[in-house]
């Protein structure tokens, strides 16, 4: 049937819409946002370092969120919380440490509050005046991670410098303190970094730090001394004042040096222990390892001899007295003074001699056999003896002097003892005393009264002799003088006669009109004439020798 169908009955053609994703591209935006946010969150979480707790005694200038932990001036953490401990005694400071500094948080890391401080040795932490206090940090060497630390009250002095730490033992602290400078040849090379009592409480242990490269000048034989104050010594060359720097004068200081007789060796190891001496002289005089102990038995009073008194060898200091006491001598069953000395005369060999020549000898002395032989030769052959001498007549201080006494009584050394006994000679004071005593004895023995009475008798007889002599003289005066006077007058008259006679002679013989004079003059004139004739004759004979025979010719005679 071709009946038209209703349009509605026909199926409707469908438009197939292009298949489109129900999910729009716009969703990329929230995905991107999520990715970025998650990325930042992951980065944040990954950069999150550990949270540590530092326990301080007081939260001085520490504020949550504003105080940083700095290491080498780089911020490595930030305080997030400050609160009291449960017992309200201290302060818990919670610090967020940056991720890259996390490996530094080990067991022995140190924290302290850096604040401005002004002391005589310097000003530190000035930058904290502007930026506020911060927490200083010093890394440790341990490998154990740690998250709770005890904060230090003061900054550890040495943080990053290279150098070596040494330990000094001293009898007391003196004026030393943390930060006290260490000097080597008056150059500041380090400082005291800490001190504490020795465990037994009998000494003080100082920790010092010597910066590189000066630490290599600390040898095992180096001596340290307290350089605080002024060292004034009066010597033959005048007054010598020795100080370190002005700072050392004010805050004290420690110096070190090698005694001149020691040769530099390997540097001392870190944490080596040294003794801190009272002053430079003591330090450089201190007994060296070569010093041996000897014992001396004196037979005299030791009053004035104290421990530490010098021992000299030929007048130069070569040791000191270690102990003074009494000893019982079993052989003679007596008690006698016993003096132990440390004596090392070889120390003196370094002075003024060529080291190259001395060194083999000093090395040889290390050998006990050779050393004993040298000692035996000195004592038994050369006569080395110890003697107590007075160092100061006013105070009566004594010292022990070693000198050669070739005339001293021979002794045999007993070298087997650990402390060899060296022979002694009586001290100068003892000798002087003995001589005075003997003189006084002699005076005492002199019969002074007998001598006195004899002298009296002699004087009386002398008196009589003198009296008779006076009388004799008086007699002589009375009997001899008058005739003598007469004789003198006679003599006087005679002399007058003689004088007159001489006057006569004068006028007769020597006056100008004296006859004798005139006769003499005419006689002389005659004599002159005779001489002239004789000269004429001589001339004649010279010219005409024949005239003696033939007579004088006129022609030949010329004018005459």
């Amino acid at each position: 049937m071709a009946e038209p169908t209703e349009l509605e009955d026909l199926p409707q053609a469908t438009v197939v819409r292009p298949k489109r994703s129900r999910i729009s591209i716009i969703w990329i935006i929230p995905i991107l946002a999520a990715l970025v946010a998650v990325g930042i969150a992951i980065q944040r979480i990954r950069s999150e370092g550990p949270t540590i707790t530092i326990i301080f005694n007081a939260a001085e200038g520490i504020e949550a969120g504003k105080t940083f932990v700095k290491y080498k001036d780089v911020i490595i953490g930030r305080v997030t919380q400050v609160q009291l401990t449960n017992d309200f005694a201290r302060v818990n400071v919670t610090v967020k440490i940056s991720k890259n500094a996390a490996p530094l948080m080990v067991e022995d890391a140190k924290f302290w509050v850096v604040k401005p401080s002004i002391s005589i040795t310097g000003i530190s932490g000035l930058n904290t005046l502007l930026s506020g206090n911060y927490i200083g940090f010093q890394p440790g060497v341990s490998d154990n991670s740690w998250d709770t630390f005890g904060g230090l009250d003061e900054a550890p002095v040495i943080t990053e410098q290279r150098g070596r730490q040494f330990v000094l033992t001293a009898s007391d602290l003196g004026s030393l303190d943390v930060g006290t400078p260490i000097y080597y040849r008056r150059l500041q090379v380090g400082q005291v970094i800490g001190f504490d009592l020795a465990p037994d409480g009998k000494s003080v242990v100082l920790k010092i730090f010597v910066n590189a490269p000066y630490d290599k000048f600390v040898y095992p034989g180096t001596r340290f001394w307290n350089a605080s104050g002024v060292d004034v010594s009066v010597g033959a060359d005048g007054i010598n004042v020795r100080t370190e720097s002005l700072v050392a004068l004010l805050v004290g200081g420690v110096s070190f040096d090698l005694p001149p007789e020691l040769a530099p060796t390997e540097s001392a190891a870190a944490n080596a222990t040294f003794t801190l001496f009272r002053d430079r002289v003591t330090a450089l005089r201190a007994t060296d390892p070569n010093a041996r102990r000897y014992v001396l038995y004196f037979n005299e009073s030791l009053r004035g001899l104290s421990v530490g008194a010098p021992v000299t060898f030929l007048g130069l200091p070569a040791g000191e007295v270690s102990s003074v006491g009494l000893a019982f001598d079993a052989a003679s069953a007596t008690i006698r003074p016993r003096v132990v000395i440390t004596f090392s005369p070889e120390r003196l060999l370094a002075y003024g001699s060529v080291p190259a020549e001395v060194q083999p000898f000093k090395t040889a002395l290390q050998d006990p056999q050779k050393r004993a032989a040298v000692l035996r030769r000195l004592v038994e052959d050369r006569g080395l003896r110890a003697q107590l001498k007075s160092g100061n007549l006013l105070t009566g201080q004594l010292y022990v002097a070693f000198d050669y006494y070739p005339g001293a009584a021979k002794v045999k050394l007993d070298l087997r003892q650990p402390e060899i006994e060296l022979p002694v000679v009586p001290g100068t004071f003892t000798v002087l005393e003995a001589k005075l005593t003997s003189i006084l004895d002699k005076i005492d023995r002199t019969p002074l009264e007998a001598i006195g009475s004899n002298i009296k008798k002699d004087l009386e007889s002398l008196d009589e002799t003198l009296k008779s002599a006076t009388k004799l003289l008086a007699d002589a005066d009375a009997q001899i003088v008058p005739p003598l006077k007469t004789a003198l007058e006679d003599a006087h008259r005679t002399l007058g006669a003689v004088e007159r006679a001489i006057d006569n002679v004068n006028s007769t013989l020597l006056g100008p009109d004296a006859p004798a004079q005139q006769e003499l003059r005419s006689a002389l004139q005659d004599f002159a004439r005779a001489a002239r004739s004789l000269r004429v004759l001589a001339d004649q004979l010279e010219r005409q020798p024949s005239s003696v025979i033939r007579g004088k010719t006129d022609a030949a005679s010329g004018g005459k």
Binding site: R17, I26, P30, A33, K66, I75, N127, S131, G132
Partner: protein, 213 residues
Amino acid sequence: MRARAVSAAQVGLLACGTCRQLTRPADKANPGDCPRCGARLAWRRAHSIQYTWALVIAAAICYVPANVLPVLTTTAFGSTESDTIMGGVIFLYVSGSWPLALIVLVASVMIPLGKLVALSYLLITAQRGSVANSHERTRIYYAVEFVGRWSMLDVFVDAFIVALIQLKPLMSVEPGLGVVFFMAVVVLTMLAAQSFDPRLIWDAGHDYRAQHG
């Protein structure tokens, strides 16, 4: 039927999205172009719900780092301080300027959050075809759209401060990463508000989907 508003779509007409010219579509599935202004015609904004959802979710994601990360890093006299938005609010409140704190709190924390919540509410009700409170929802939509352009206040202040306070080395201010996220939140919520078609509010209860898929 009088109580119920009649929409253009219900009578087979649609308005141009650009010039509002009421036209008959060339084809139900493919409405064609506007005869007056030439803009492409659509029954409703294409994928409006989906787009808006995507942008709202993106903004919500960005809202978290915007509040967690610092927006300003101030360095003064050697100490560095990083401030988040909430930190700034707390600082202002603690330092006594509670009106300022309130302004910042409202403008920078509550309004972005409120926009996200409002848009989510609009989207959910539009998807479920809820008929209740259509007037209120429309008002909410316009409020969201209006407030969007004022939400950049924080970014503006941040940019000003960073540009003005450069007294190195004594003091300097650097923008933090948080401000970028904050900006992203603002831009994304503005785009979300734009992409939401308010006509969807009124399509509820009507089988609008049957007509345009």
